[in-house]
C-alpha cells in the first residue's frame, strides 16, 4: 500500500507539473498569437499584393503536384491550380507510377504532348520515364515516373523546377486563388533570408466546393470532423504563429508549403525514408542554416488557405494520427543530436525539446494521469482527491484555451459565416476534453509502442504518403 502510495504521489507530481507547464506554454503562445496575428492582418491590408501580382519582379514559383492514382480529381485540381493569382508560375504534375488513368485524363483535358524536360542531377529520384507539356498552356507539365512515394515525387518536381521557388502540395488539397501570392509575401518582403513559408490548412468537410473553390463554409455534420476543425485552429493559429515568432517553426504542412529551391537542393531534398517528410525537411533546413550560422527565416503565414478533407471515421483517423506520430518520432530520432543543443538556438533549446517532451512523450504522461485518476478513486486515497481536482482544473483550462483559439479565428478571419456553427464549436470545445483528447492520446501511445517494436515502418515506407487524408487511404 505504501509503495503504491508513493508511486501515485510521484506520478501525480509529474503529471501536475506536466499540465502546469504545458498549459502555461499554451497561455504564452495564445498571447503571442493574439498580438502578432492582429498586427499581421492589419498590415496585410496595406501590403501590396495587387502590385506584386502586376510586377515583373515577383519571383517565379514551380507548383509541384504529386499524384498517385488521382484520376478522379486530378483534372479539377489542375484546372484550379492554373487559375491561381500569381504572375509567374508553372504547374508540374508528377505522376508517381499511378496504376489508374491519371495521365490519360490529363492528356485529354489539357492536350498534353510529349516533350523532353531537362532534370537537374542535384537530387536523385526514381527515373522519370517521360514528360509532357500542355499545348493549351505551356506552363503545365506532367512528369511520368516510376513509383517512389510522395517525397520522391516531390523531389522529381524540385529537380525539374525552372523557377527559384517550389510549392509542394497534396494532390487533393485545394489552394485558394490568392493563396500563392499571400504565402509568398514573406519572400517578397525579404527574399534574401526567407527560405520556407507555409499557409494554414482548413477543413473542407461539410463546405460546398464548386469548380475547385470552396464557395460556402459550413461546419461538417460529422462530429469527428468538427473536433478536428477545433484541433486545426489550435495547431495553426496558436502553435505555428508562436513558433514563427521564435523562428523555430518545425512544421510546414505537406499540403501547402513554399520553399526556396536551392535550399531544398542543398539539404538533399525530401527524405524518402520517413512517413513525415514535410516536418523532416523543415527540421533539416533549420539545422542546416543554424549549424552554419547563416541568417534565415522560416515562416508560417496565417491567411493563405489550403482546404483539405479530413477522415470522418475512427479507423482512418486513428491510422492518420498513428502515422503522424511515427513521422514525428522518426524526425526527432534522426535529429536527436540537435535536441537541447545550444548551438541551434531557440530551435534546439526550445522547439525540439518541446516536441520531444510534450508532443511526442506527452500522450504517455496524459494517459498515466488519466489511469491514475481511476486508481485514485478505486483506492479512495484522500490526498489524491486534490490531485483529481487539479486534473479537473486542467480540463477547464483546456476548455478555455480551446475557446481562446476559436476566438482568435473569429476575431481575425471569421471564415464560418453561420452563428450556429460558432455556438456548436464552443460546445465542441467543451466536449473534446471528455473522450476525444484521450482517444488521440491513446493512438499516439499505440504509435509509440509501434515505434519501440519497430513494427510498421521505422525507416521503411509502409505506403505512399500521398492522400495523407485518410478517406483515400486503404
Amino acid at each position: 500500500m505504501n509503495v503504491l502510495n508513493e508511486l501515485l504521489t510521484v506520478v501525480g507530481v509529474i503529471t501536475i507539473s506536466y499540465f502546469a507547464i504545458l498549459n502555461g506554454l499554451y497561455l504564452v503562445f495564445t498571447a503571442i498569437a493574439w498580438r502578432s496575428l492582429g498586427r499581421h492582418l492589419r498590415g496585410r491590408a496595406y501590403s501590396a499584393a495587387e502590385e506584386a501580382f502586376d510586377s515583373p519582379f515577383t519571383p517565379g514559383i514551380t507548383v509541384i503536384l504529386p499524384a498517385f492514382n488521382e484520376a478522379a480529381g486530378i483534372v479539377q485540381s489542375v484546372h484550379s491550380l492554373l487559375a491561381l493569382r500569381y504572375p509567374r508560375y508553372e504547374v508540374v504534375v508528377v505522376n508517381d507510377g499511378s496504376t489508374d488513368d491519371t495521365v490519360a485524363r490529363l492528356t485529354d483535358a489539357f492536350e498534353l504532348v510529349g516533350a523532353h524536360r531537362a532534370i537537374r542531377p542535384s537530387i536523385t529520384t526514381q527515373p522519370v520515364a517521360s514528360s509532357f507539356v500542355s499545348r493549351r498552356n505551356p506552363n503545365l507539365w506532367v512528369l511520368d515516373k516510376a513509383n517512389g512515394g510522395k517525397a520522391d515525387a516531390l523531389n522529381a518536381g524540385v529537380a525539374a523546377a525552372q523557377h527559384p521557388y517550389v510549392c509542394a502540395l497534396d494532390a487533393d488539397a485545394l489552394i485558394e486563388t490568392d493563396a500563392l501570392l499571400r504565402v509568398a509575401e514573406p519572400i517578397l518582403d525579404d527574399p534574401v533570408h526567407v527560405v520556407a513559408t507555409g499557409g494554414i490548412v482548413r477543413i473542407a468537410n461539410g463546405s460546398t466546393i464548386d469548380h475547385g473553390r470552396v464557395t460556402s463554409v459550413r461546419l461538417p455534420s460529422n462530429p469527428l470532423a468538427v473536433l478536428q476543425v477545433l484541433e486545426y485552429f489550435r495547431a495553426f493559429l496558436i502553435g505555428r504563429v508562436g513558433w514563427t515568432r521564435m523562428n523555430a517553426l518545425l512544421i510546414i504542412s505537406g499540403a501547402f508549403g513554399l520553399f526556396q529551391r536551392e535550399a531544398v537542393e542543398e539539404v538533399g531534398g525530401f527524405a524518402t525514408d520517413t512517413v513525415g517528410e514535410d516536418m523532416e525537411l523543415v527540421v533539416r533546413l533549420h539545422r542546416h542554416f543554424r549549424a552554419r550560422g547563416l541568417p534565415y527565416r522560416i515562416e508560417f503565414v496565417a491567411d493563405p488557405v489550403c482546404w483539405t478533407e479530413v477522415p470522418e471515421d475512427i479507423a482512418s483517423l486513428s491510422r492518420q494520427r498513428r502515422r503522424w506520430h511515427r513521422g514525428l518520432g522518426q524526425t526527432l530520432w534522426r535529429h536527436r543530436r540537435a535536441v537541447g543543443n545550444p548551438r541551434y538556438g531557440a530551435f534546439g533549446l526550445v522547439a525540439l525539446p518541446y516536441f520531444v517532451l510534450f508532443e511526442f512523450l506527452g500522450p504517455v504522461v496524459e494517459t498515466f494521469g488519466a489511469a491514475l485518476t481511476v486508481v485514485a478513486f478505486a483506492v479512495g486515497d484522500l490526498s489524491l482527491r486534490s490531485f483529481v481536482g487539479f486534473l479537473l482544473l486542467a480540463f477547464l483550462v483546456g476548455i478555455v484555451l480551446s475557446i481562446a483559439a476559436l476566438a482568435l479565428e473569429e476575431f481575425n478571419f471569421r471564415r464560418h459565416p453561420r452563428t450556429r456553427d460558432v455556438v456548436a464549436m464552443v460546445l465542441y470545445s467543451v466536449l473534446e476534453n471528455f473522450g476525444y483528447r484521450q482517444l488521440n492520446d491513446t493512438w499516439r501511445v499505440v504509435a509509440l509502442v509501434d515505434l519501440a517494436r519497430r513494427k510498421q515502418g521505422w525507416g521503411t515506407q509502409r505506403r505512399r504518403g500521398i492522400g495523407n487524408l485518410a478517406p483515400r487511404e486503404r
Binding site: 496595406y46 501590403s47 510586377s55 531537362a118 481536482g389 477547464l396 476559436l406 452563428t419
Partner: protein
C-alpha cells in the same frame, strides 16, 4: 479545496463569457454590415454618376453617408484611370479629404492609421500628395513605408524616383515593390535612374540598370554595355539583361563575351538577351553552352535562346548531341 472550486467556477464563467462575446459580436457585425450595404445601395447611383460625369452628389449627406460614399469611390478609384479617375480625385480634393489623409499620415499616433492614410492616398490622391508620401518613406513603421511606396507608384510621381531607389537599397521597403513603383513612374524616372549608374552601391547600380532596360531605349545601350565590365556580378547580370531589350547588333560581341563570364548568373542573363536579339551569329556559342555548360540554368537558358534564334538548326543539333536542354527547348518552341 475551496480554492479549486473558486478556480473552477472562474474558468467556467470565463468560457461562458467568451461564448457570449463571440455571439453578440457576430450579431453586431452582421447588423452593421447589413446597414452599410443599405446605405451603399442608396448611394451607388450617385457615385457612378459622379464618376462619369462629374455631377455633384446631393449636398445633404450625413456623416455616415459621406464616409460610405468616400469608401465606394475609393474602391472604384482602384480600378479606373484617366478622366474618370480625375473626377474622383476632384471630389476628394473638394471635400478636403486628401489634405485630411495627408495630415493623418504624418501625425497619427497609431501606425495602422498612418498606413491606412498612406494607402488611401494612392487611390484617391493626386501627385500633390507625393511630397508627403516621400516623407512617409522614412516612417518608423514598415507597413506605412510599404503603403507609401505603393501609393507613389500608383500616383506615378516622377520626383519620387531617387527617394524610392534609396528606400529600396537601404532595406526600408521590399526591393521588388520599390522596383514595381519605379516601373510605374515610366520614362520620366530615367534621368534619375541614369544618374544612379555611378552610385557606389552595387545593388543600386544593378536596380537602376534593370529598370533602364525595361523603360529605356536604344540610346541607353552604350551605358549598359560599359557596365558589362563592372566589378560586381549583380551589375554585370543586369547589364546583360538590359542589352537584350535596349541593345542591338553592336552589342553582340560583349554579350557573347558575357556568355563566358565566371559567374553563372551573368552567363544566363547573356543567353537570355542573345535569345531576344535573335541574331544567328550567337547560335554556335549558345548551343555549345546548352550542351556543355556545367551550370544547369545557364545550359537551359542557352538552349532556349538557341531554339528561339533557329529552331530547325537547334533541333538538328539536339538530335546529334542528345543534349537534354536543347531537346527541351526545341520541344517547347514547337508548341508555342
Amino acid at each position: 479545496m475551496s480554492v479549486l472550486v473558486i478556480a473552477a467556477l472562474a474558468l467556467s464563467a470565463c468560457s461562458i463569457a467568451m461564448l457570449a462575446v463571440l455571439v453578440t459580436r457576430r450579431w453586431e457585425l452582421a447588423r452593421r454590415a447589413r446597414h452599410r450595404r443599405q446605405v451603399e445601395d442608396r448611394l451607388k447611383q450617385a457615385a457612378l454618376e459622379l464618376l462619369h460625369g462629374g455631377v455633384e452628389p446631393p449636398a445633404e449627406l450625413s456623416v455616415e453617408e459621406k464616409e460610405t460614399l468616400a469608401d465606394l469611390l475609393g474602391r472604384y478609384a482602384r480600378t479606373v484611370r484617366g478622366p474618370t479617375h480625375d473626377h474622383i480625385v476632384a471630389y476628394f480634393a473638394r471635400e478636403g479629404l486628401i489634405g485630411r489623409e495627408v495630415t493623418v499620415m504624418a501625425r497619427a499616433r497609431q501606425p495602422w492609421r498612418r498606413a491606412t492614410a498612406a494607402f488611401r492616398l494612392g487611390d484617391i490622391g493626386s501627385v500633390d500628395a507625393a511630397p508627403a508620401l516621400v516623407e512617409a518613406l522614412r516612417d518608423k513603421d514598415r507597413y506605412v513605408r510599404i503603403a507609401a511606396v505603393r501609393s507613389l507608384g500608383r500616383l506615378r510621381a516622377p520626383e519620387a524616383g531617387a527617394a524610392l531607389v534609396a528606400a529600396g537599397a537601404e532595406g526600408r521597403a521590399p526591393e521588388g515593390l520599390v522596383r514595381w513603383a519605379l516601373l510605374q513612374l515610366g520614362p520620366p524616372a530615367l534621368p534619375e535612374l541614369r544618374s544612379l549608374l555611378s552610385s557606389p552601391s552595387d545593388r543600386e547600380r544593378a536596380a537602376a540598370l534593370q529598370l533602364i532596360g525595361l523603360l529605356g531605349g536604344p540610346s541607353d545601350a552604350g551605358e549598359a554595355e560599359s557596365r558589362m565590365r563592372d566589378s560586381s556580378s549583380l551589375v554585370r547580370t543586369q547589364a546583360a539583361r538590359a542589352l537584350g531589350r535596349v541593345g542591338g547588333e553592336r552589342n553582340l560581341p560583349s554579350l557573347l563575351a558575357a556568355l563566358e563570364d565566371r559567374i553563372p548568373a551573368v552567363r544566363a542573363a547573356a543567353a537570355i538577351s542573345l535569345g531576344y536579339l535573335r541574331d544567328p551569329i550567337a547560335l554556335d556559342a549558345l548551343t555549345q553552352h546548352a550542351e556543355g555548360d556545367p551550370v544547369f540554368d545557364v545550359a537551359r537558358e542557352s538552349a532556349r535562346a538557341a531554339a528561339k534564334i533557329d529552331r530547325q538548326a537547334s533541333a538538328a543539333r539536339a538530335r546529334a548531341s542528345d543534349s537534354e536542354h536543347l531537346r527541351e527547348a526545341v520541344d517547347l518552341a514547337g508548341i508555342r
